[in-house]
Each structure stands twice: as C-alpha cells, then as structure tokens.
C-alpha cells in the first residue's frame, strides 16, 4: 500500500470539498444567519490542510487497484466527517454522530434523515444538505479527475472505485475529457431543472435545493412534507427529472454525439423504462380506490415509483398507508435501483439483467447439458469474469445486508422497519416502510444502529468493495 499517494489524493479531495463549502457560507450571509462562520471556518481549515498534504507530489506514484479503492473509500469517510462539522459546530445538530449520519446520507445521495423537524434548520444547512447530494451524485473523485487529472493508471483505478455499475468505461479516450463531459451534462440538466421549477412557481432557494437533491437522486426535502405541498405540475417536473437522472449518462453522451441509433440498443435503459411503466401501472390500479380521481392516483404512483427506483426518496404521500401489493412493488424496485452510470443507487438494472440471464442460462444447461451459450447484452457478449463478479456482488450484498439487519435488530424496532431501513440506506434510497417511512425518520435508532447505517450508506454508494476493503488488514501491507 502506497500511503503517500493516498494522502496526496485525499488532500486534493478535501480541498475541493472545502471549496464547495464556501457556497452554504454565502447562503447564510445572504439570509443573515448567525452560523455563517462555521462554514467559512471549516472551509478555510479544510482547504489549508488539504493543500498542505497535497502540496508536494509524492516521489513514488505507484498506484494499483487497491490504492484506488482505499483512496476513494477513505475520501468518502473523510468528506462525511468534515461535512458534518459546520452543522455540528453551530449546534443545529447537537450530536456529532447524528451530524455524520446526516452528511453521509447527503453525500451518498441517500436522503435518510435524523431530523425530526427539517424546517427548523437554517437556510445554509438546508442548502448544504441538498448540495451534498449534488456533489455525491456524480462523485467527488470524478470531479477531481475533471479538474486535476492524474497520471496513467491512477485515473482508471479511481474512476472504477467511485463509479457505479458492473463495467466502468470512459466516454472518450482521455479521462479528463470524459469527466468534464459527465459534469457538463450534469450541470446542464441541473440548470434546466432549476429554471423550470422557478417558472412553475417555486422560490429560487426551493428550486436550487430541490434540483440539487433531484440531480444526485438524493431526496433531502426542505419541508417536513417533502414535495407533497407543491403543485401537481412541480410534482411531474420532479418525477420526470428523477427518471432522467436514473438513466445511464452514456445516453446523454450519445445524444450529444448524435448517435441516436445506438441509444435504442442499450438494453439496460430499455428495461429501466419498462420496469417504471409496469410499476406505475400496477400501483395506479391498486391505489385507485383511495383517490378521488384517476389523475391524482397516477401522479402519486408515478412520483413514488420514480422516487424509489432512482433511489431519490422524495415523497408526495405516505405510502405506508398503501395496500401491501403496492408496498411490495416498491420494495422490489428499491432492490433493483437505477441504471449503471447514472447518479442513482441500488443494485443497478444492468446487474439484475445479467444475473437473470445467467440464471436462465444455468437452468437451460440442465435441459441441454451440452449447450454452450454466452450471456449477452446490447448485442455483445458479457465477459465471463463480469458475470461472475456480478453474481458475487449479489451474494456480498446479501451478506452485508443480513449482517446489518442483525445488528440493527438489537434496537427496539419491528422487522419490517429494520429490513427496509437497512435496504433504504444500503441502496441510498432514504425512506423505507413503517417507522422509517416517508413521514418517519431515523432519529429514534441508537448510535450503534446509526453507525451501521452510515457504513451501509457509504458501502452502498461505492458499491461495497472500496469500503469493505478498508477493513481488511492485508490491504495495508507495504509493497
């Protein structure tokens, strides 16, 4: 393990996070709030510390996959720990573990909260929570690569550790260009949403916070009722943007490159839209009786489905009250998640597809023992190593999931709460069912459970390995 080069990367990440932290500071100056100094102080200290550590390039730039995983895993822990400082120092969130929970929920774009009254927060903190979704959605290391690319293999190892999906590739040959294109698409989409929300009647502050939280598929609301009290038009706006952010960003790149034909070849995106349509259909029919009009039922069903499958976690209604068929559909799409290469979380549609195809092939091999058939996707054969790693990923996911449920069950809540709370944090969704449903929150859990949730959120966002490997001693042996 090359510690020097990891510290170097971490220093740069912290410096960038601190630079971002200036924004909520400015927000609090605008609203003349008393907690402005916390943001500026942490930003200043973080910037100095970060630049100090990364001032000199280490001599030994040897960088392998494990350095990539370790850098990214540590970086995410670190940004959560430092991001939690301002609200903690200003006593808005008096307990540090709670503050870390809140911020890692922000950066991992989970949107689970320990706040019982969101509206009591200062504007600066509300903005910082939503903005952390935006930073975490595309990834802070990808941002780092866009502004300060590193040499050779470093790039790829970092990207692979942070980006979601079974196969991580670049859009164009150079990493710097690739990350810049991603962020360009991301920023443009965010701006379009901010403007459209503003036109639909939101205040500028509401529009910015909602857009940031949608962009990262995070789901922190700025009101206790989340999006429920806004107009139907705004609900549909958010629904559509959530679905857009859950699409593999390659699609937008292909649109930019005017390769429209290739878009329809992407099986994952096709499946994603089919799943959304089917889920909306089932739920609308199922909840129709509870609503006065078909339109309202469809609006709520579509919003909830989009919010859950993209792992955003906004809500317009308390789906705890829905019939169990609808709740089950929601849990199924909770597990599935959005597309790989999007800002959404979950297991990813492409993984589910690969596993289903692998299972079908395995069953087929009982009927035709001598048949030879490769698993294919998008008219291409999926590498056997990828199929294997996807299957292992499912198993590992299940292991961590049940382990976490076990520890959380020590706490006082019922089974459904525990199972969905872990699922909601690991897949970066936010709300689960029962006590952690859309109207509930995570405040009542004890600190052990909260630490488990923090771990699950980070592990889920970074797709398990970067976080898991940090706890494996041989990782830290010298080369």
């Amino acid at each position: 393990m090359n510690i020097a080069v990891i510290l170097f990367t971490l220093g740069r990440v912290i410096a960038i996070e601190s630079a971002f932290m200036v924004l909520p500071g400015i927000v609090s100056l605008i609203y003349k709030e008393s907690n402005w100094w916390t943001y500026f102080a942490v930003a200043l200290v973080g910037m100095l510390a970060g630049l100090l550590v990364s001032f000199k390039k280490p001599k030994n730039m040897q960088f392998f996959a494990k350095e990539g995983f370790a850098s990214v895993g540590l970086a995410w822990f670190l940004i959560s720990l430092t991001g939690a400082l301002p609200p903690f120092l200003s006593r808005e969130i008096p307990n540090y573990i709670d503050a870390v929970f809140e911020m890692s929920s922000g950066f991992t774009t989970t949107g689970a909260t320990i706040l019982t009254d969101v509206e009591a927060m200062s504007h600066a903190t509300l903005f910082w929570r939503s903005f952390s979704h935006w930073i975490g959605g595309m990834g802070i290391v990808v941002f780092l690569l866009a502004v300060m690319p590193m040499v050779g293999g470093v790039n790829m190892h970092l990207l692979r550790a942070e980006s979601p999906g079974p196969v991580v590739g670049k859009l164009v040959p150079k990493m710097k260009d690739s990350s810049q294109i991603l962020y360009f698409i991301y920023i443009v989409l965010t701006l379009i949403q901010i403007i459209s929300l503003k036109l639909m009647g939101m205040s500028f502050f509401e529009a910015v916070c909602t857009s940031c939280a949608t962009a990262g598929t995070g789901g922190f609301g700025i009101y206790n009722s989340s999006i429920a009290d806004f107009s139907t038009l705004i609900k549909w706006n958010v629904t559509i943007f959530m679905i857009l952010y859950g699409v593999n960003f390659n699609v937008y790149f292909l649109i930019l490159a005017r390769k429209f034909k290739s878009i329809f070849k992407i099986e994952e995106v096709r499946t994603y839209f089919i799943v959304i349509a089917v889920a909306i259909g089932i739920i609308t029919v199922n909840i129709f009786k509870m609503y006065d009009s078909f339109g309202n039922a469809l609006t709520d069903a579509a919003f909830q489905v989009a919010s859950i499958i993209t792992t955003t976690g906004f809500a317009t209604t308390d789906f705890n009250l829905w019939p169990s068929l609808s709740k089950t559909v929601l849990i199924l799409i909770m597990i599935c998640g959005a597309c790989a290469g999007s800002t959404g979380g979950g297991l990813k549609v492409s993984r589910v597809l690969i596993v289903i195809k692998a299972v079908r092939q395995e069953i087929n091999s009982f009927i035709h023992p001598r048949s030879v058939k490769a698993v294919g996707m998008d008219d291409r054969t999926v590498d056997k190593a990828v199929v294997k790693s996807v299957c292992v990923y499912f198993i590992l996911f299940a292991l961590i999931y049940f382990g976490s449920v076990f520890i959380v069950s020590i706490d006082k809540y019922d089974m459904v709460t525990n199972f969905t709370a872990v699922l909601a944090t690991m897949n970066n969704i936010g709300p689960g069912l029962e006590a952690v449903g859309p109207t509930g929150n995570f405040a009542g859990f004890n600190y052990l459970s909260k630490i488990v949730f923090i771990f699950d959120m980070l592990a889920g966002r970074l797709e398990l390995y970067p976080i898991l490997l940090l706890f494996i001693p041989p990782m830290w042996k010298k080369h």
């Binding site: 996959a65 690319p149 040499v151 050779g152 293999g153 790039n155 790829m156 190892h157 590739g169 670049k170 164009v172 040959p173 150079k174 990493m175 260009d177 590498d383 190593a385």
Partner: protein
C-alpha cells in the same frame, strides 16, 4: 491528435506508452478482453474489444474522426486490411506493420496502391540499425539526422582514453574536430554537460557530428573507424535474412549459424553469397570450429532472448570484435544493460520509435515542428530535429544570447546542407533545421526550448 491503435502487443504497448505522454487521444483495439483491461488500467486510453479489421468495430472507435490509425497486430494481412478500411471509412492516415519478407519486396507498391502513409517492418528496421553499427563498430549506437548527414554516436570512455579527467573544453582543444558531446551517462545519472564538465572513465557519452567529422574524431582518439570485414550471425530468421542481404551488399563476409536444416536450405537459396552453417550455436565447439575467435563481429539473432544473452557473453570472452545482441522483451532492459553484451538491439523499440517519430512529424502539419525524434540512453534523452519556419523567435539571435531552459542543448544546425556545430556566436536562420538534445520529454516546437 486522435489515434487508433489496433493490436496491443509489445510494439503496441511501446507506442501507447510514448503517445500517452505526448497527450494524444488514443483508442486501443484488441481481440482479447484481458489485454484491453490491462492497458486501460495502466494508461489513460480507451479500449475496445474486437477485430480491428471490422468496419463496425472501427466505427465504434470513431474512425471517421480519427487522424491516424496504427495497425500493429501479429498478422500482416489484418494490418493491411485495417488500414484499407480505415482509409476508406475515415480517410485518415494509416501505418501498418508488415514483416513478411515476401511482402517486403513489394512494399512500395503496397504502400502506394493501398494509400498507406507508412509501412513499418521491425525486422528490417533493426537490420538497418545493425548494419550501421557494423559499418562503424566503435560506436555502441548510431542514429542519423538530416537524411544521414548528421550522426549521433554513443561510445564509452575507457580507462585508457586520453579524455579521462579532462573537461570538455580541454577535450575539444585536443581533438580540434567539429564535434559536440551532448550527453553523458554516469551510473544512473544523465547530464547535459557544459564546457567545465569533467569526463571520467566509464562514462557513456553521445556525440553529435557530421558523418565525416565523426570518423575523423574517432581516428584522432585512437578508435578503429573501418567497417568490419566479416560477421557471424546466429539464428536464421527474418532479421538475419534482411541483415545478411544488406551486409553482403556492403562487401562484408557473412556466416550464418542456424540449427534448423530447412531454414538453412531456404537461406542458401535466397542468400547464395553467404556461408550457411547448419548446427546448434549453443554448442561452443561449433562456434569455435567456425572461427568465432577470428571474427570481426558477432550478432546473436535467435528467437530466444536468454540464448542471445548467453551467446553474446560467450562471444565477448572469445573475440575482441564487435558484439551485437538482439533482445525481444523490453521489460528487463535496465538489468540487461548492466551485462557486457556489446550493442543491444530491441526490434520493437526501434519500430515504436519510428512510428512515434512519424506521429510527431504528422503533428507538424497541425502545429508541432518536429521532423525527427530519436531516443537516447534508454529513452531518457531525446534528440529532436526541428525545422525553423518564418517568424520563429530564435531566428537571427546569436545562441549565447538566447535564454534556454535547463537541460537543453542545441546540438547541430543544418544550414542548407552544411552541418554547423554551434558556437556561441552561431545564428539560426529561417529554413535551417536544428537538432536539440534534451532530457525533457514532449517538446513540440522550437519555441519550447526558450525560458
């Protein structure tokens, strides 16, 4: 520039390594997923798995927006096909590796008819390099600039050399030849020396001079400057064939030792003037019987690196003549260079250097001005030939008044065919070509040498 590289073997990797440093947009196509994983993990390039000669794969790689396609797979035919398609689909420049001697006779025809920009034959290029060394055996390595008018020669300062413990100013007073010592390699360090630099025994120096002056210099300092009279080549592969053909034309007697009977018979047909010995060269007695002791030079060109190394080590103990060793695997070059194996030839490196210098020359038309690029001292030093265009900031200023960056030296000025070794008062004019020696990598314009 946007470049597609098809085939990611040894040559492919060497090219990628260099072109990535020079910040090109590179897409690599290879059939093997594993190879692609490896290369994308280690270099900032995009990888595509597939057959590079297929139109759809080339389209995936955006061939229509590409400036250059380099086909260096193991198969000549696939390489040519790749280039043919790329030319039609993307109208880009194309480079193919073609190594079969059968095609090599028709290379000009193929190149013209298929519209290729360049055909590289690593074996032939290496053979040319070896023949240059045999023509001038005192140098370890010879590179040429300005269409052969300027030479860069490597040699080692021996204990007996009159230059030991002398400064460069004293050396130049002593030899009175128009030459310039441009790099000194001592242990792990490389220096671009100034006049006060003191030479020590064991230093590896590079000198730049016109072809005539370099001979004069070598005679003055007591080295032999005659070409070798005879040579013994071990191994009867393609490179041997090319080399023997060149050497026989130069009037050098060639003896080839090859273990395979059929190959020997083939060679005897294609090279009637050479002496072909059918025998196992790893048998010392055969080498001694065939007169290794009396040989002027010894070249080991078998297909196995280890055998070549042993043969050359053995030859070094038996003969005073020039020993040349071919090594295919580049990865251990730092260790191999510590053995006394005489001159080392890395065919893939040579081919990669040719291609990289072509890429640089191509960039010429899009802003860069490098005519030729040669790598010295294991790639740590570059010698570049720049063409001076109108309006360049260095025209008309005496060199002593230019503020050059550190570790940059102007080695030679080619003024309309006259080779000038620059002095402080020398002036560069429009239309000259200038050779710059530097330890920095990635210079692309003569402006880059200024502070």
């Amino acid at each position: 520039m946007k470049i597609i590289i098809v085939g990611c073997g040894k040559i492919g990797l060497s090219i990628i390594r260099q072109l990535v440093i020079e910040k090109h947009d590179i897409t690599v196509i290879d059939k093997s997923q594993e190879v692609i994983n490896d290369v994308t993990n280690n270099y900032d390039v995009m990888g595509i798995v597939g057959n590079g000669a297929s139109y759809s794969v080339q389209k995936d790689a955006d061939v229509d927006k590409t400036d250059l396609l380099i086909a260096v797979t193991g198969s000549d035919e696939i390489n040519l096909l790749c280039c043919l398609f790329a030319k039609k689909a993307g109208n880009c420049n194309t480079i193919a590796r073609v190594r079969d001697p059968l095609y090599s006779k028709e290379i000009q025809y193929i190149k013209d008819e298929l519209g290729l920009s360049m055909i590289i034959n690593p074996e032939y290029a290496s053979a040319v390099e070896i023949s240059r060394l045999l023509r001038f055996p005192s140098a370890d390595k010879i590179d040429t600039f300005a269409k052969g008018r300027v030479e860069l020669l490597n040699l080692v300062i021996t204990e007996e050399s009159p230059f030991v413990d002398k400064t460069l100013i004293e050396v130049s007073k002593r030899v009175l030849s128009d030459i310039l010592i441009c790099t000194v390699e001592r242990g792990d360090d490389i220096f671009i020396p100034n006049g006060a630099f003191i030479l020590r025994a064991g230093d590896k120096i590079t000198i730049v001079a016109s072809a005539v002056n370099s001979r004069e210099f070598f005679t003055k300092v007591g080295y032999d400057t005659h070409q070798v009279k005879d040579t013994m080549i071990i191994g009867g592969g393609r490179m041997t064939y090319y080399l023997a053909e060149i050497l026989i034309k130069m009037g050098i007697r060639v003896k080839i030792v090859e273990v395979d009977r059929e190959k020997c018979e083939d060679l005897s047909e294609t090279l009637p003037k050479a002496t072909i010995i059918n025998g196992d060269a790893t048998n010392q007695e055969i080498l001694i019987e065939e007169g290794i002791k009396g040989c002027d030079s010894f070249v080991s060109l078998t297909g196995i690196d280890e055998t070549n190394i042993f043969l050359s080590l053995f030859a070094k103990t038996k003969t005073e003549g020039k020993v040349i060793t071919k090594i295919d695997r580049i990865s251990f070059d730092d260790i191999i260079s510590t053995f006394s194996l005489g001159s080392l030839i890395y065919p893939d490196k040579i081919a990669a250097d040719y291609i990289v210098s072509y890429v640089r020359a191509m960039q010429n038309s899009i802003g860069s001005n490098v005519e030729t690029l040669i790598k010295l001292n294991g790639g740590r030093v570059e010698a570049l030939e720049f063409k001076i265009h109108k309006g360049s900031p260095i025209i008309g200023i005496p060199l002593m008044q230019l503020s050059l960056k550190r570790d940059i030296l102007i080695g030679c000025i080619n003024h309309r065919g006259t080779i000038i070794i620059p002095k402080g008062q020398s002036v560069i004019e429009e239309g000259d070509t200038v050779i710059v020696v530097t330890t920095k990598s990635g210079l692309s314009d003569i402006k880059d040498i200024l502070e």
